[in-house]
C-alpha cells in the first residue's frame, strides 16, 4: 500500500530510494493526537530503511531515527528545506530514547543498516547523524570500528536540526540538554490519564456497590448517595496523581514523587471533604485521606517513568519506603470506609 507521506523516488547507485514529504497531512496530525491518547500506540510504525528528503546527493547528511512514526514524522518535518537522507532503524515501533534503553535502537541494528543499505555507495563522507538520546544504545566507537562510519550525535530535539546543520553539524550545550518544562509534561497527561484503563471502571464500581451496605442490610439509595460521592473522591485522587502533580511538578515541595503526590492528594482531599461532609464522621474522613493520599501518591510515583530526570537508584530508594506505605494507607482507608458503612 502506498503511504501518503511518500511523494516520489530518487535514483541512487544502489537503486531507487523513496522520497518523503516534509509536511504533515491531516491524517498525520489526527494520528499524532490519537497516539498521544494511547490509541494504537503500539502499531504506529513506518517501514525501516532508507528515505530521501528533498533531492539529496553524495554530500548530503544522513539522519538516523526509529521506526515509531511519531519520531519519523518529527524528523521529516524538521528537515523541511534541507536535502538529506533518513535512515530508519527497526525499533519495533518504539521511540528513539526508549528503544535505545532496550537496545533495539543500538549499535548492532545501526551497523546492520549501514551495511545493508550500502551507505558507502550513496554518500562520500562516512558520517551518520544519530539523535543524541540514541547514545544510550549506540556505541560510536564500535560503529566506527565495524563500518568505518563516524557517528555524530545530533540535537535532542528535531526542531534544533536546522541550527545544528547551519552550525556545521555541531550541537550546542543547549541542544544537548533534555528539558522537561510544563509543555513537555502537559503532552504526557493523556498517556497518564489512560494509565488506569479498566481499573478506572472497576474500582469506582466496587465502591459504588459497597456503598449501599448498612447495618440493616442494603440500600440502593445509600449506593447512589455515598457511592456517587465516593466516585468523585476516587476520580479526584486519580486526577491529583496523574494530572495535577505532573503539571505542577517543580513547584510542589519534596524531592520524592510519592511525597509530591501525597501532598497534592491531601490538598485536594481537604478541599473536597471540607465542602462535601456535613456530618462529622471522623473515621470516614480519615479513611478518605488515607485512600486518596495512597492513590495520588502511587500515581505520582509512576510518573517517574515518564519524567526525564529520575535515576533507577533514586526510584528504588523512593519505592522502598513509599510503596509499602501507599498499600498500607489505602488498605486501612478501605477497611475504615467499610466500617463506617455499619455505624
Amino acid at each position: 500500500m502506498k503511504k501518503h507521506y511518500i511523494i516520489g523516488s530518487i535514483n541512487t547507485p544502489v537503486g531507487k530510494v523513496e522520497q518523503v514529504s516534509t509536511k504533515w497531512s491531516r491524517s498525520d496530525i489526527l494520528s499524532t493526537i490519537k497516539v498521544r491518547w494511547s490509541v494504537g500506540r503500539m502499531s504506529y510504525r513506518v517501514k525501516q530503511g532508507l528515505y530521501a528528503v528533498g533531492t539529496p546527493d553524495a554530500n548530503s547528511n544522513i539522519f538516523v531515527t526509529a521506526n515509531f512514526k511519531l519520531s519519523f514524522d518529527h524528523l521529516r518535518r524538521a528537515l523541511d528545506g534541507i536535502n538529506a537522507w533518513i535512515l530508519v532503524l527497526d525499533t519495533k515501533g518504539i521511540n528513539v530514547w526508549c528503544a535505545a534503553g532496550k537496545g533495539t535502537f543500538g549499535t548492532r541494528e545501526l551497523v546492520y543498516r549501514i551495511k545493508a543499505h550500502e551507505l558507502e555507495k550513496i554518500v562520500n563522507h562516512k558520517t551518520v547523524i544519530v539523535p543524541q538520546l540514541g547514545a544510550v544504545g549506540v556505541s560510536a566507537h564500535e560503529v566506527k570500528d565495524k563500518t568505518g562510519f563516524r557517528v555524530i550525535y545530533g540535537p535532542v530535539r528535531a526542531e534544533d536540526i536546522k541550527n545544528f546543520v547551519a552550525a556545521g553539524n555541531k550541537a550546542t550545550p543547549e541542544m544537548r540538554t533534555v528539558k522537561f518544562n510544563i509543555a513537555d509534561r502537559a503532552k504526557l497527561i493523556p498517556v497518564e490519564l489512560a494509565y488506569g484503563k479498566y481499573y478506572l471502571l472497576f474500582v469506582p464500581a466496587v465502591f459504588f456497590i459497597l456503598a449501599g451496605l448498612n447495618r440493616h442490610g442494603y440500600s440502593v439509595d445509600d449506593a447512589w448517595k455515598n457511592g456517587g460521592r465516593s466516585i468523585i473522591y476516587l476520580l479526584s485522587a486519580y486526577i491529583s496523581g496523574c494530572v495535577l502533580t505532573p503539571l505542577l511538578l517543580p513547584w510542589i515541595p519534596f524531592q520524592r514523587f510519592s511525597f509530591k503526590g501525597l501532598f497534592v492528594g491531601w490538598i485536594v482531599s481537604s478541599i473536597l471533604l471540607f465542602f462535601t461532609f456535613s456530618e462529622k464522621n471522623i473515621i470516614e474522613i480519615i479513611s478518605w485521606f488515607l485512600i486518596m493520599g495512597g492513590i495520588s501518591s502511587f500515581l505520582a510515583m509512576n510518573f517517574t517513568g515518564s519524567s526525564t530526570f529520575t535515576s533507577l537508584s533514586g526510584v528504588q530508594k523512593e519505592m522502598k519506603l513509599s510503596l509499602p506505605l501507599q498499600i498500607i494507607a489505602a488498605s486501612i482507608g478501605f477497611i475504615g470506609w467499610i466500617i463506617t458503612r455499619f455505624i
Binding site: 547514545a135 544537548r176 517513568g305 526525564t308 537508584s313 526510584v315 528504588q316 530508594k317 523512593e318
Partner: protein
C-alpha cells in the same frame, strides 16, 4: 545550575580519570550536563543530575566510566519485582512499550 533534580547522593556513576583520554564524548552524549572538563580530562560536576541512562559508559572508548544503568521508572521496578527480573519497561512482552 538549571533543570530538575531528583534524590541526592544515590547515583552510581563513576569516572576513572586515569583512563580518560579527553575525547569529550561523555559531555556530548549526556542529556543533563553532568560532566565538565578540566585540565584535558572529563570531570563529574553535577552528579545528582545523572539519571543513569548509561549513554556515557556506552560511548567512552577508554572504558573510564561506569554506571548501573536502567529505567528510572516505578512501574518498571514493580514489573521487575513481580517477575523476579531486572527493572524493565517492557510492560507486556516484545510488541509493547509503556514509555
Amino acid at each position: 545550575m538549571t533543570g530538575l533534580i531528583y534524590l541526592k547522593d544515590v547515583v552510581t556513576l563513576q569516572l576513572d580519570q586515569q583512563k580518560c583520554n579527553g575525547c569529550k564524548m561523555c559531555i556530548f552524549v549526556c542529556p543533563h550536563e553532568v560532566f565538565g572538563f578540566r585540565e584535558k580530562k572529563a570531570i563529574i560536576s553535577n552528579k545528582d543530575k545523572c539519571m543513569e541512562c548509561g549513554a556515557c559508559e556506552k560511548n567512552c572508548p577508554e572504558g573510564a566510566l561506569s554506571v548501573r544503568s536502567g529505567v528510572g521508572c516505578a512501574a518498571g521496578v514493580i514489573n521487575g519485582l513481580l517477575r523476579g527480573t531486572e527493572p524493565s519497561c517492557d510492560c507486556s512482552g516484545s510488541n509493547s512499550s509503556c514509555c
